[in-house]
Subunit: 267 residues, 2 copies
């Protein structure tokens, strides 16, 4: 049985061979990382998915952890290698280890052979039970244009309500990533790099509504951000129509970064 | 170098030998679980620590994951085997995988030999880099009396502000466990099995203050629990002194369990 086999980021046949034969010397066996990368732009929420050449369906970008890397370094490298997207704020949400988590995958050994020219030995380090650590991120999908690596057919943004059934246990991963991201919205500031530098209260309110996936009666999040000094009211307005020129706001980046480190209570 | 070697729950020399020689067939190598078990009782918060026979200092109870177990099953079994405490509500908080996370431990191979009569071969599955998945739990430390297993010298509750320096990266684990537990207080109900069946608003307010480690100006948590129907006011009072007989409350267990599954927004 093949569990959750990832191998990407390799550009030559030699690199591929070395990874398959000696990868356990450079990577921690039995542990992988999968990343749920959410994209926001103007009230739309999307998810980044990958189509690996040897797997029929779509899945989250993933890979292994180098023995010299911290988990977050590995997650950043994997996202960069798989998708071309760099510099994400990645946050762990959960590890997945059900013994049957990979049993339903449609991994195709023949397709793998076609794509790579390589066959696995029976005791290969890649063919064994794998526990995967889930990371999530939120970015602006307009600024983050994916470029799949040579082992992937496609890498694309999907609207959150049009995400297809995913391989392995990645459906559950996405559900858990969304849940944790939504809990975190109440405890960490969000919006930097996802809103224009100067924005209206409606715009940040819409960001929260979109990420939470529900209408909010009152605008507690922006109010709380202002009360905590994370959001500054500017002496500028934006003209959006007759009699409509709302005030503009921007983040206090220093306080924002501190709140990201320490956590706060919003809502 | 020895990384985070756990082996407990074994009662005979034969079991020990089999675990050391063949454990990789029954357990997932390279991955362990560590558990931060918090204990609450009447405004005191404690942490459960273990003293392994082959390690000088204290650490969190931990162990490996059987290849047939889910992560939460493994965590429950490990806590039961190590400490004799069963039936805990365990919640994942973070995986720890810095390459140097175990380099500072004071694991003593000679002490291990004394305690077990067994020596490791150089290629033994236990002697390699390990990524550990952290779980936390909260229980009533009066109802949860630890009984260490044969590989542990001691297993005891420590007041949270008197926790000694811990082995491996367990100091960081405790800090992260506390942080996640405190975030979760805003999103899941707590108190069942930690308060008397019928309790006053002051008692549940004190529970929140103790777990959060700070004074709360106003009693938002109980108010929100009442508003969400999780807490029911009883037609009973407790007499605690002249002119002082506060109303008693109890949890609506059905709504409580639903809120544990689905999450809520408290505060």
């Amino acid at each position: 049985m093949l569990y959750d086999v990832y191998f990407y980021g390799m550009n030559t046949r030699e690199e591929m061979d070395d990874f398959i034969l000696n990868g356990h010397l450079h990577y921690v066996p039995h542990v992988s990382i999968d990343c749920a990368i959410f994209g926001y732009h103007e009230q739309q929420l999307k998810l980044l998915l990958l189509k690996h050449k040897a797997i029929y369906g779509w899945c989250l970008p993933g890979g292994y952890i180098k023995r010299t890397e911290t988990l977050v370094q590995a997650a950043n490298r994997i996202v960069m290698e798989r998708t071309g997207i760099g510099n994400l704020f990645l946050q762990q949400f959960k590890a997945f280890g059900d013994p049957d988590r990979a049993k339903t995958n449609s991994f195709d050994e023949e397709k793998l052979f076609e794509a790579t020219g390589v066959r696995f030995g029976k005791n290969n380090w890649l063919i064994d039970q794998t526990i995967s650590i889930g990371f999530y991120a939120i970015t602006d999908f307009v600024k983050s244009v994916p470029e799949p690596d040579i082992m992937s057919d496609e890498c694309a943004w999907f609207a959150i309500d049009e995400v297809p059934h995913l391989e392995f246990d990645h459906d559950e991963m996405v559900k858990e990533a969304l849940h944790t991201m939504r809990v975190h919205l109440y405890h960490y500031p969000i919006g930097y790099n996802m809103l224009p530098e100067k924005f209206t209260l409606s715009e940040i309110h819409a960001l929260y509504e979109t990420l939470l996936g529900k209408k909010l009666d009152i605008s507690n999040f922006p109010k709380k951000l202002i009360a905590l000094g994370l959001l500054k009211k500017l002496n500028e307005k934006r003209s959006i129509g007759p009699h409509r020129s709302p005030h503009l706001y921007m983040f206090d980046k220093e306080k924002y970064d501190e709140a990201l480190r320490e956590g706060v209570v919003l809502s």
